[in-house]
Amino acid sequence: MFLEVFTLDLLAEFGASFLSQLQSPTLAFLIGGMLLAALGSKLTVPDAIYQFIIFVLLMRIGLHGGMEIKDADLTALALPALMASLTGIICVVVGWLTLARLPGVKFDDAIATSGLFGAVSASTLAAALVVMEQESVSYEAWAPALYPFMDIPALVLAIVLASMAMQKAKGGDRKKVGVWKIIKDSLRGSALSALLLGIAIGLFAEPGRVYEEFYNPLFRGFLSILLLIMGMEAYSRLAELRGVAHWFAVYALLAPIVHGLIGFGLGYVAHLLVGFSQGGVVILAIIAASNSDISGPPTLRAGIPSANPASFIGSSTSIGTPIAIAVCIPLFIALGNAVFP
């Protein structure tokens, strides 16, 4: 009975939040991008602009985090960071136990896909921050910095699993996986580099004015364009999915929600143990629900060359990302409002 009321409440809350999201430009631009691609529009955002947008968004998030955590108690970060890593690992393991065992699914493709969905999308994170700000859900300033703690373990684990399987198949001498190389590759990717650079400058310098005058005002606008690009990409990569087992589409539909729930659960544990905030838990859930779109694909490609990129990129770009942004952001914000007093 209580559960029922709770569920109804949650549904109502989610429904309202979702409807308002549909009104919010965040989603409108994503859908607009899909429509443009579907209708064959020639409108494209040049690659140079895309790179610049990613840079500015991640710098903005980093600078903000860096400036705020100057006088924060960073020991509070320890447990949530551990939870983030655990989430990343569990998500990959879930994919390994489910997707990889399905009929018609190539093992390497499945593991690479699991790695991608276990890792984190900078764009989804940025979108989540804007929506949360709008709905006044507050979070620890360092919460966006949980990103690498989830991203890297997921990518490393996926590559390790794939290469262990290959050694087993081939027998023979064990080729060591360069774990450190994978970590370095991830940190060197353009998105994480910009995030870390922003945090460092926010921490050690006084970028308040350039943040207020430049990075912050551009945030919403650049995000709107990024979502447009994501929408166009989602539609135009749908075709790639066709050549791939249907299970990938099913996985891409469900994984964001399942991963988000795992992240929410582990975040809630951190809430109970060390008082991790509602907003922090929601961020953890949403980055868990997201899938890596910038540094993940090349890292996985280099690490699991036998995997077919169409499977992992198609399913994440065309299905995973839209679900993460359109469904999971409102869902986990609503869940947060329902669960937290």
Partner: protein, 104 residues
């Protein structure tokens, strides 16, 4: 003034560009030229100008000229053996005539 040489063209993903350039240098080529592009092959289509959400999967066309055809072939084979089982890409060679043969 003109003398025989061999042109080798390698078309690969940006992801392995640096490693391929290393192989070219190790193989004894004294230079190379690289242009960014797009393409289609067994492994699907890659666009050029649009936002390349995954930059590393776009295509580069690398060409290098060498006076010694055998060395050029050796580099081509080395790249093909090392990468083309798992990564997309093609390689071809052809005869050209160059000025200043000692440069190549």
């Amino acid at each position: 003034m003109f003398s025989q040489a061999t042109k080798t063209v390698l078309i690969v993903e940006r992801l392995i560009q640096e490693e391929v350039l290393d192989l070219i240098e190790q193989g004894g080529a004294k230079g190379y030229t690289l242009v960014p592009g797009a393409g289609q092959g067994e492994h699907g289509r890659r666009r050029a100008s649009r936002a390349a959400v995954v930059k590393d999967f776009s295509i580069v066309r690398i060409e290098f000229i060498m006076a010694d055809k055998n060395k050029a072939k050796a580099i081509a084979e080395k790249v093909a053996d090392t990468y083309f089982e798992q990564y997309p890409g093609i390689v071809y060679i052809s005869d050209v005539e160059v000025i200043r043969a000692d440069k190549f």
